[in-house]
């Protein structure tokens, strides 16, 4: 299935140019891995990056750099990361060691909910996996700063739009929402948020200190 919600061209360019922090970059990378259209766009952006790289004035390497490199390549190649496979068989086709680790460390947060931090920073920003059971809603909330979301498994509805595996969303401070997982099954999302979400109802105010997202 091809994703229907995509990052903006600006975000794809920032991703291609390496301008996003590690957390945001990972969320975009997950979408791009399963989205042929965005992958083609990123590849074009990267070609521009490559051409610019080639035209840079060289910064001389130290004198022994080449000799060291030639000595290094004589040594047996260290083991390589496995070819990309989904982190979990039922997730979208994107893998990352950080996601694997986070999945193994997941902890129960509330009935039907588990959370696991993937990476922290910069500042109060946090990148995490969030699993919410079928039919459940995340209590109504808004955001400080921006939140990037890519669906890894399952689907949720948000303000009349269905977000399915691979779909990307960017939610800014203007967004006030209560995403609801579809009845079909659990939903796992990879999320990078600039700051903890701001609960807007009593359920959320109870929920947030426990779940800590």
């Amino acid at each position: 299935m091809t994703p229907r919600h995509h990052p903006s061209g600006d975000r794809l360019l920032e991703h291609a140019a390496g301008q996003l922090g590690a957390g945001r970059d990972l969320v975009i990378a997950a979408h791009v891995a399963v989205c042929p259209a965005c992958r083609a766009e990123v590849r074009t952006d990267e070609a521009v990056g490559g051409a610019l790289l080639d035209s840079l004035d060289p910064a001389p390497m130290s004198e022994e750099a080449l000799a060291q490199a030639l000595a290094q390549i004589e040594r047996p190649t260290p083991s390589q990361p496995a070819a990309p496979t989904p982190s979990r068989p039922d997730w979208i086709g994107f893998s990352s060691p950080a996601l694997e680790r986070a999945w193994r460390r997941r902890r129960w947060a509330a009935p039907g909910v588990w959370v696991s931090t993937v990476t922290k920073g910069p500042g109060p920003a946090r990148t995490y996996l969030l699993r919410v059971a079928a039919g459940m809603s995340v209590p109504r909330h808004r955001h400080e700063g921006v939140e990037f979301v890519t669906v890894l498994k399952g689907a949720y509805g948000d303000r009349g739009e269905l977000h399915q595996p691979g779909d990307f969303a960017e939610n800014d401070e203007a967004v006030d929402h209560k995403p609801t997982v579809t009845q079909d099954g659990e939903c796992v999302c990879l999320i990078c948020a600039d700051a903890p979400l701001v609960a807007l109802d009593w359920v959320g105010k109870l929920f947030q200190p426990i779940v800590r997202i």
């Binding site: 590849r43 490559g50 910064a59 750099a65």
Partner: protein
């Protein structure tokens, strides 16, 4: 550097090329204004027969440019040297995942350097650019199949023809460790102006690639 580069051209792969690879690639030697080496062919030589001379040539050309790129991105000198070294070692170790029909050498190396820089922050390894092209099946649009090496020349030529204000923002978009908002601040321009200049420039480059591929 050019003298070394020319010495490293191995007639085995310059003249013949491997079956199925576009013959057009080799024409670069004829049309290029200055002596140049097909960098993609050097990577293929490493993949096919662990060609150390090809590696030396790639190292001499790209390591100082990757270092220059990393320095511009705010990486401190020692780390930039190390990451540039690591980038070229990655080229050696993973040369077989490089697809010369998909990306120019400079594009692939740019993407490796970019990922290593981000991963340094995240302290993990992720699939290499090139591998992730196959994630989720090979569904790339045919028009995205660039005649990669030629495209790089075209992109370079196109960047040279951009109005100065546009080429400046494109360079900054790739070669400064800054979000578009900060770039706007540095140039004392409204964010909208910077974004529209970047978009305009990227749209031109993209149109150029699509019309000629």
């Amino acid at each position: 550097m050019h003298a070394l580069a020319i010495n490293a051209i191995d007639p085995r792969f310059v003249v013949g090329g491997s079956p199925g690879r576009s013959a057009r690639t080799w024409n670069l030697f004829a049309v290029s204004a200055e002596p140049s080496v097909d960098m993609s062919a050097l990577i293929v030589a490493i993949a096919e027969r662990r060609d150390r001379q090809a590696f030396t040539c790639l190292f001499n050309h790209f390591a100082p440019r990757v270092k220059a790129y990393l320095l511009r991105m705010g990486t401190v000198s020692e780390a930039a040297e190390e990451l540039a070294q690591e980038t070229l070692l990655t080229v050696w170790r993973r040369a077989e995942v490089f697809n010369p029909d998909r990306a120019a050498a400079s594009t692939w190396i740019f993407a490796i350097a970019r990922n290593l820089r981000i991963d340094l922050a995240r302290r993990e390894r992720r699939p290499l650019p090139g591998e992730d092209l196959t994630v989720g099946g090979d569904m790339v649009r045919p028009d995205a199949n660039l005649e990669a090496a030629q495209d790089e020349m075209r992109i370079r030529a196109a960047i040279a023809t951009l109005p100065a204000d546009q080429s400046e923002v494109v360079r900054l978009a790739f070669f400064s460790d800054k979000a578009h908002a900060e770039i706007a601040g540095d140039l004392s321009l409204p964010l909208g102006t910077v974004k529209s200049r970047i978009r305009l420039a990227m749209a031109k480059l993209r149109a150029l690639l699509e019309e000629t591929s």
